[in-house]
């Protein structure tokens, strides 16, 4: 699965990455004012968290090896 890295030093706690994530992958810790990567398995690498972050504090490492369904011929389990 994708690995989403947050640089706590660079993060300014603006919550934009939480808002930008449309798939509920990123949650927010109100005490520490930092994002929590809660459901990385649902990330589809749209990178909207990355491009929305004002300080480049978040990065999505894409897992290119994940399984994709059989494209042409049905795969029988």
């Amino acid at each position: 699965m994708n690995v989403i890295k947050v640089d706590d030093e660079k993060c300014v706690g603006c919550k934009t990455c939480y808002k930008a994530c449309w798939l509920d992958v990123i949650r927010w810790n109100e005490e520490t004012k930092r994002p929590v990567i809660a459901y990385a398995e649902d990330c589809v690498e749209c990178n909207f968290c990355e491009i929305s972050c004002p300080t480049d504090a978040i990065f999505v490492n894409v897992d290119y090896t994940r399984q994709f369904p059989s494209p042409y011929i049905p795969r029988v389990n």
């Binding site: 369904p69 059989s70 494209p71 049905p74």
Partner: protein, 578 residues
Amino acid sequence: MATLEQLGTVVETDLLVVGFGISGLAAAITAKEENAGLKVLAVDKGCVGYAGKANKGGGHVAFIPEGAEELYVEYHTRNCGDYLNDQDLIRKYAHSTVKTMDRWASWGVNFIGREHAGQAHAVIPWKVCIVDNDIMIPMAKTARKLGVEFREKITITDLLKEGDKVVGAFGFSLLTGETYIFKAKAVVMACGDQNFRIMRMWNSGRGDGIAAAYRAGAKMRNAEFGSFMNIMSAEHKLVAYGAEDALVNAKGENCSERADLDPSLKSVVGGVDLGGSQSVLMYLEVRDGKGPIFEDTTKNGFPTSFVGRNLCNLTGPPDPPFRRPTSEKFWARIMEKKHAGYRNEGTLKEVIPGVVGEFSPLYVDHDYATSVTGLFASGDICGCGGGWAGAVPTPPGRNRGSGLMHAVMTAIFAATTAAKYAAAASLGNVDADQVAKLKEETYAPLKRMKQGTTTHEVVREIGEIMQPVAYSGYKSEERLKEALDRVLVLKAKLPNLVAKDPHDLSSANECRSMVLCAEMFYRTSIERKESRGWHMREDYKTRDDKNGANWIVVQDKGGEMNLTLDPLPMDRYKYKPE
């Protein structure tokens, strides 16, 4: 018996908009503009300004210039809709694109290149201009200024009814699991279509709205056309833009040429307008032992073309008139990750078809009212169900730029109708028994202690059922029945779904919705015994104008999926098959 307040948080509004992606935002704004006194509430699983998929696309807006509407209607009917489109509604569409842009612009949206819009099609005067990918931020500001209220991180799983009338919706918080009961005079469904979670990026459409409307008794139509496919890299799994025109098989033979197509496909596929032919062609090559298929990157001229460079930002910053700060960042990041994902440096890159879906069968009339009183719809959820596009998935086909236009235009139609309806209606009674029953069913996956089926297992199997071109792209009776059998096996496992928290519980509801949509897709695909538009049958290779000029309508009848035929009024339509 528990009261509503004991069952969850009760929220009252005049108009409830389910989903605040671009169509939901446009619907909420329109409703307030039509009637400032209406209380309008929009609910979504995401956050305001970022929900849905409109900001993750190309930002293309297609329009038909004044005076060219009828030319477009005729061309589309003959070449894209394959005579299955509602010719009255497509005429309304053609005459409304410019008006839609004018109203949309008043919501703070900047159209780039509108005055000198590029010619987007070889034959018809279809123009395309662009918007930046932060388009929903100014729209959200406009909505708030007008008094629209929002509730974030809530999924709506079912509609609430009093008799035959929709009187609200049931859902829960993704964050806390808390139950929400929304009482409303009218509901607009603007929560997207079904993408079956296969191709990344188009992943947000999970069909929860389609399933909720279906369970509420709403009619569905054109469900057999919801298997839109794109071409993607087998290595990094992102779209290989322009690859369709530069395909070679394992023997090095060109397989992009239409001349290579089976003559039966050439007769039913609208060439450049549909694009489904490439995925079928790739499948036939692989089936004949000539796979895998590659993109010859030296022959792909699309990324450096005017459209690729300026409208899609595929090769870095565009020419000055087309600058879009957010889009450039978005596309630059996609391209960086794409290049990082290639495992070989060669010019031949393996490509495969990828199902995007765009399954969107919720029926609406010409005013965007569904068949259920009090329920309206806009955007992707009713792309095929609306019937204007005909025998193609929503976008439609490969013609770019109609997705955003359709989302906003239909929101204006739906919200205008719904606002009038809500102004004359009163709040209905929500039955606590109905809510208690829904609550028990919806939360059941959280309560199952024994080992059950996980949501990830269902998602994986749905992919294996909906992706293979042999099932969903190039169809035959035998393969369709095999796929349907697999759907029904999966359906039988749904009562054993387990969920570990509210996020996963939302996934469980999405799984139910995906299985329902897959069943609808295969049942209607079996029923349509001809090839028409995007629906390509190996065993019925031509269009059957005598028996095929019907819309296949699907409706729940006592828990069974009931299919009926609704004949097109071809006698009074202007354009008839030749």
